[in-house]
Amino acid sequence: MEKEYAIEFRHVSKIYSLKSKNKEHAINKRFYALKDINFKIPKGEVVGILGTNGSGKSTMSIILAGISEVDEGEMIVNGEQALIAINTGLNPQLTGLENIELKGALLGLSKKRIKEITEGVIEFAEIGDFLYQPVKKYSSGMKSRLGFSINLCLDPDILIVDEALSVGDKGFAQKCINKMKELKATGKTIVFISHSLPQVRGFCDTAMWIEGGMLKEYGNIEEVCDHYAEYVDYYNALDNKAKKKERDEKFNKRIIPNVKKKGFFDRIFG
């Protein structure tokens, strides 16, 4: 049974510390970026993660990708996970071809594998004659396509896509979604983080709604999307005062007050 889940979260919390307003160093507030999150994502499922700004989606993505550690609880991952980071690792001074090699190497691909993927990347990115131009001269869409296609060649079991499609135009987004649908057909688990409801509805099987660092709903795509859309409408309809009140309420639930701050040397030896 265990094996069927790609990702399992058990009471996961992530805590950030906040600088206190007055410059008293001894006492610092701590803040739940994610609070007590539980879910299981079955293998081969495409999950969309929804949530308003600041609700912990990006934190979620770096934790899922294994870049950041959880502070409480545990995360169980079956398989290799990778975060799609479009513009990371591209060096504007280098040419397209060199960037393919550089980013490939950064992602940990072997020399042989990079040679294999080069052709496909060039084709997907549609860079054509720009291959030998420095990336600083690329249009931003071209840059994104280049970055995205190199990332996809990593061939992980679990793919995490964080707002990646919001950079390019519609054509680019569609192209990426098509590519991801191909990957989906091969049985990969995809976590898709986005603001765009239509994209999530069109692409995902299930959806997860995170609000204020807590898991609000996880389940059928249509249901969650509808509830989320309702909430956004409700929130937008509020006047400024009520909005502020709502935000403060959410914020206060996430705070852990009066924790002694760790100093420089405590951190090294503690």
Binding site: S68, T88, L94, E98, E101, A105
Partner: protein, 274 residues
């Protein structure tokens, strides 16, 4: 402790191609930045050597340096040591920033952070080879001819590399905990240059208590400087400096172990330290 050392070594060895690629393309990008590119890798140290030669060789009128019965003109003697400094110095300053300068990469992908010090050192190593080539030419013109002892340079180069990686390992993590580390290191670089007997001969400290001389000789950078000079001019062999050698390896290993432990401890926490 052993777990962290094993972890760091394993990560570095399994990612050799990654280290090589990062260093290569960093170097390439640096060159593309300027019109003259590679030229600056040679010109920059050359101009610096001229500066020090003017200041010390001409203005202070430093005479030829005699050690172990061999007399070497000051300019050659200085260059034999400076070549090491031109390698170690950028390694220390950039090594300190090794992790921080790659923040956008380590926050966006799963990345073996502990290879970053090695990439910085490898990048500088290329410049070092360029410089060595020039140095050999100058020595040939100046009448100092190659000798079997020159191969000893490879040993000392290895020492310098390991020392630089170990130091960067420590400072780069400390720099993530507090960015002040880099400021401190940058401020201390000039001090370190003059504290290390590169521009002056260690025998000039004769009037000081003997303990000062010992401290100077325990300086790991001086061990490498001394080694290079020995290979070029004095030909005493590697084992002749056994006391310095022991001191050098002890310091280097301590740095490496400390650096590895820190690396291991903070490997997943860097992202929260930005």
């Amino acid at each position: 402790m052993f777990k962290s050392i094993k972890y760091v070594l394993h990560e570095n060895v399994t990612n050799l191609f990654r280290i090589y690629s990062i260093a290569k393309y960093e170097l390439l990008a640096d060159m593309r930045d300027s019109k003259l590119g590679l030229f600056w890798n040679f010109a920059h140290p050359l101009i610096q050597v001229l500066t020090y030669w003017f200041a010390f060789g001409i203005v202070f009128n430093r005479k030829a340096v005699t050690s172990y019965g061999v007399t070497i003109p000051y300019i050659f003697w200085m260059m034999g040591g400076m070549v090491v400094w031109f390698f170690i110095s950028p390694c220390i300053t950039n090594g300190c920033n090794a992790v921080f300068s790659k923040v956008n990469v380590i926050t966006k992908m799963k990345f073996p952070v502990s290879i970053l010090p090695a990439t910085v050192v490898l990048k500088e190593l290329f410049n070092h080879f360029c410089l060595l080539v020039i140095l050999f030419c100058i020595f040939l013109i100046g009448g100092i001819y190659p000798n079997i002892h020159w191969f000893g340079i490879f040993y000392y180069m290895l020492c310098a590399i390991i020392f630089a990686i170990s130091l960067s390992m420590t400072t780069s993590v400390l720099n993530m905990l507090a960015r002040d580390t880099r400021k401190l290191v940058l401020a201390c670089m000039r001090l370190l240059l003059y504290l290390t007997p590169i521009l002056w001969d260690i025998k000039q400290l004769k009037h000081m208590p003997a303990v000062v001389g010992y401290i100077m000789k325990a300086n790991p950078i001086y061990y490498v400087v001394q080694g290079y000079r020995d290979c070029f001019f004095y030909h005493k062999g590697i084992l002749f400096y056994h006391n310095s050698m022991i001191a050098f390896w002890i310091i280097t290993i301590i740095l490496f172990v400390f650096g590895s432990c820190m690396m291991y401890k903070f490997k997943h926490k860097f992202i929260d330290l930005i």
